[in-house]
Structure formats: structure tokens, C-alpha cells
Amino acid sequence: MQVYLPIAEVSVNVFVLFGLGGLVGILSGMFGVGGGFLMTPLLFFIGVPPAVAVATGANQIVASSVSGLMAHLKRKTVDLRMGTVLLIGGLIGAALGVVLFNYLKSLGQVDLLINLCYVVFLGIIGALMFIESLNALRKSRRGAPPKRKKHNWVHALPFKMRFRTSGLYISVIPPLLVGLAVGVLAAIMGVGGGFIMVPAMIYLLNMPTKVVIGTSLFQIIFVTGFTTVMHATTNYTVDVVLAVVLLVGGVLGAQAGTAIGMRLKAEQLRILLAGLVLLVCGKLALDLLLTPSEFYVLSAAGSH
């Protein structure tokens, strides 16, 4: 059964979309990530125009993050103060990102920008995760406890602020910058940015792991929500039909994924996820590097 997407102006098989939403949902349930970084490239592969995939991806992440955040709010594992600081940075970043996106769109280079961002970030994150989880696997066999640095350059910066839930007394500059970077990425890549923010919060800000996910979800909802409205008003690229179909699949998939995730070991899960990230990255990189069979690309004029 085909479904015609009114904004993307393409007709796509509804079961393929459903499956895609489900697959990403399973992954996000298994690994506790938003899955935006996989959803958007997979949408490219099935023929959704990149600009629509990015904007709609942002909208879809809002939905999956809301259900996650509610669980965390109930468990009181959200640092609202830290979340707000991250959010301020995030909103500035998202606005900058949309401006950059529109500028490159007028130059005809937006597809390249999106693809490059994906290759670079998926490559880095995938490789780091792979190495990290290999090390963790080795360590868990040897039984050595993991070490963590307590003090770094972050503690030398001014404008300190107390974050009670996280038990931290640090400068607001690092969280603002982390939020900003994630905001830019959210606007350009159509991702929540959890896969960047979570490591940054743990290793850079030294936040306790139990509040990290809830706090990042809190920030992600507002930033991706803001991005959705920005894309809708400046680019007209949010396809609500696409978002709804993906959502239904995603919600069901997430529940299945959580159940699967409980049966696997954390290190095994991380290696699986790293492999998947590297696979998507490799496919996108090949598209950029290999000589295309068609040297010409059409795009709607009038964006100049």
C-alpha cells in the first residue's frame, strides 16, 4: 500500500516506512538512544529528499523523547537546572544551525553538508564506541574497576553555578557550549544529538550517569521542537504524514527493543550499536567517494 507524502511529494510504501520506524524504535529501545542518527540516513536511502528527512526527523524525535522523559521525571532523574542551561545553549545553536542550513541550501550544497556531517560524526562516534566497548569487554574479563578523572580544565572556568541534582558546582560555560554544539547538529542533521551530548555530559561535565539520559532528553525535546518549528516556517519541509507513520512504527518498536535489550549484556549491545553506526557511515561515505553513475543533479530553482 502506497502513501503519498504531501510535503515530500513522493509516494512511499507505507509498510516500508512502518518497518523503518519499527527498526529504529527497536534500536532506540535496545540502546537507549533516540535513533535520529539512523532514521534520517535510512530515509535518504528510501528516496525522501534530505531536507524533508532532516526536518521530519527532528519532529519524530520529539515524540520518542517525550515518552522517555516522562519515565525519567517519575524517577526524579532529571537535572532541570542543568537541562535549562544546556537548553539555552541548544536554542542558540539550533537557530544558528537553521541559518547555516538555509545559507547552504541557497548555494545548492545542503545535501553535501548533511552527508558530510553524518559521515564525520557517525565515523567518530562509531569508532570511539567500538574501541571503548572492546576495552570494557577486556576489562570486565580481567575484573579491574573502571577509573574516572575527577578534576579537569572545566573546573577552572568562571561563572560557577550549583547543580544540586547532579551534585556539581561548575562553570556554566561548558554546558552552554555543549548545548550549542548539539543545537547546531540538531538543525543540520535532524538528530536529537543524544549520542554526542551523553558522552560529553559524562566525560566533560562529570555528571552522574543516572541523571544523564533524563537531562539530555529534557534538552532534546525543546531543541528538536524548536528546530521543527524553525524548519516548518523557513523551509516548509516538515512532513507530518511521514512523521505520524514513522511514529506508530517507532513506538511499537521501542517497546520490543526494550525487551530485547534486557536479555543482552551492555558491552555486547554497545559493540552491536557501534557496528551498526559504522555500517551506515560507510554507506554514506561510499556515496561521496565513488564516482557517481550520473554526474548531474536536479534541484528546484527559486531558492536563490
Binding site: 503519498y4 516522562m70 521543527t228 512523521a243 548531474y296 536536479l298
Partner: protein, 250 residues
Amino acid sequence: MRLLLLLLVFALPARAEEVVLGLSKEIVQISTDFDGSDILIFGAIKRETPIEADPLQVIVTVAGPHQPVTVWRQARRFGIWVNAHSVEVDAAPSFYAIATSAPWGQVISKTEDLRHKISIPRAIRSVGAPMDVPDAQSFTEAVIRIRTREGTYQLLEDTVTVREQTLFDTAISMPANLTEGTYPTRIFLTRGGNVISTYETEIEVRKVGLERWLYALSRQQPFVYGLMSLFIAIAAGWGASTAFRILRSQ
């Protein structure tokens, strides 16, 4: 032979043969489950003179709305393929199908094609190419090549059936990725490569129902549309987590 032809030409009154046309549908509706559409175009030739010996040929064209298109040529820069040069094609139809009753060379002469802008290259208008792009022609060819592969440009030779030089019919299939608008539909009657009669009508292609409403809202009230998308997403996320909690607690 030539004398006979000359006599015939003189004997004929102008516009001796005219088209009477029918369409299986005059409006194509893009609904949520739209998956392309076949249009049957059929007609008859009305004439007050006896049928000529030289066979009559029929050309049917259906064109989508003309839009400007930016064509990018990719080049390898720093090891990766990027959009390097661009040419603006002033007006290219978003859809173009030509059906003929015989192979292209037999139905129309080059000069007549030029005059009536029938063939695909003639239907595309490209005026200004930037000075730094010497081979602007290859950009126009790329539009035709890409759109032919996508199925939005179709040259359907020998697909119009003509019976007794009087009745004709053909079917044109329109793909799922149609653009909204008015699709001018033209019928040409030719004999010996010359156009002897033309007929024009229109097919309306438009989004209907939910598709139309959403599209209009996204263009006219983008802020409201954005908020609506957001609201749907939040409600869906909330609803799903609540629903699953209730399911689990039972």
C-alpha cells in the same frame, strides 16, 4: 505524383479535418493513497471531405506545469563528489509525455516540431547559461535523461492506435510523484510530416482532502503547521507511554 499532390492541396479547404476528443478523466486527484494514474485519451476525426490516401498520423502530448530547474554538475573536489557547476533551466515541464501513432521520424518534420514545440528537447526552455559553463547543452540533456529515467518524461512511439483514419486512442500513465497544476494536453494531426490540425484541452492535477489541507496549511500558515506537527508528536509520545504503562500494569 507531384502534380497529383498539388491538385489535392488545392482541392482541400483549410481545416478540413478536426479532432473531437474525449478523456477518461479530466481531473486527477492526489489523495493519500495516490499511486499514479492512467489516463485514456480517445477521439475521432471529423471531416467533410473523403479520406485521403496518405495516412493520417496522430500525436498526443500531456505536459505538466513548467518550472525553473537548477541543474548541478558534480565534480571531484578534495576527493569527494560535490555540486560544482550549475545552470538554471528557465522552464522545464515537471511531466511530459508524447504518444505517437508511428515512429517519430515518420509523424512529423523537424521544422514543424520546431514550430509547435512538440518533442521533449523543444518543450524545455533554457536561455541564459553562465559564462563559465561552456557546454550548457549537456545540462539540458541531463534534465531529459534524468527525468526520462524517473518516468516523468516519456516518448511513447507507436502507441496511438488509429482506426480507419478516423478513430484514435491511447493511454498515458502518470507517475505517483506528480506536481499539482494544470496539464495542457495537445493533439496534433499530421500528414506527410506536416501538422494539419491541432486541438488543445487541459487535465487538472490536484491534491484533495487531507493532502490538500496539509499542503495548504504548511505554505500559508507555516507557524501553525509547525506547532501542529509538534503537538501531534508530543501527544503521540505521551499517549504511547501512557498506553503501554496501562497495558503492563494489567
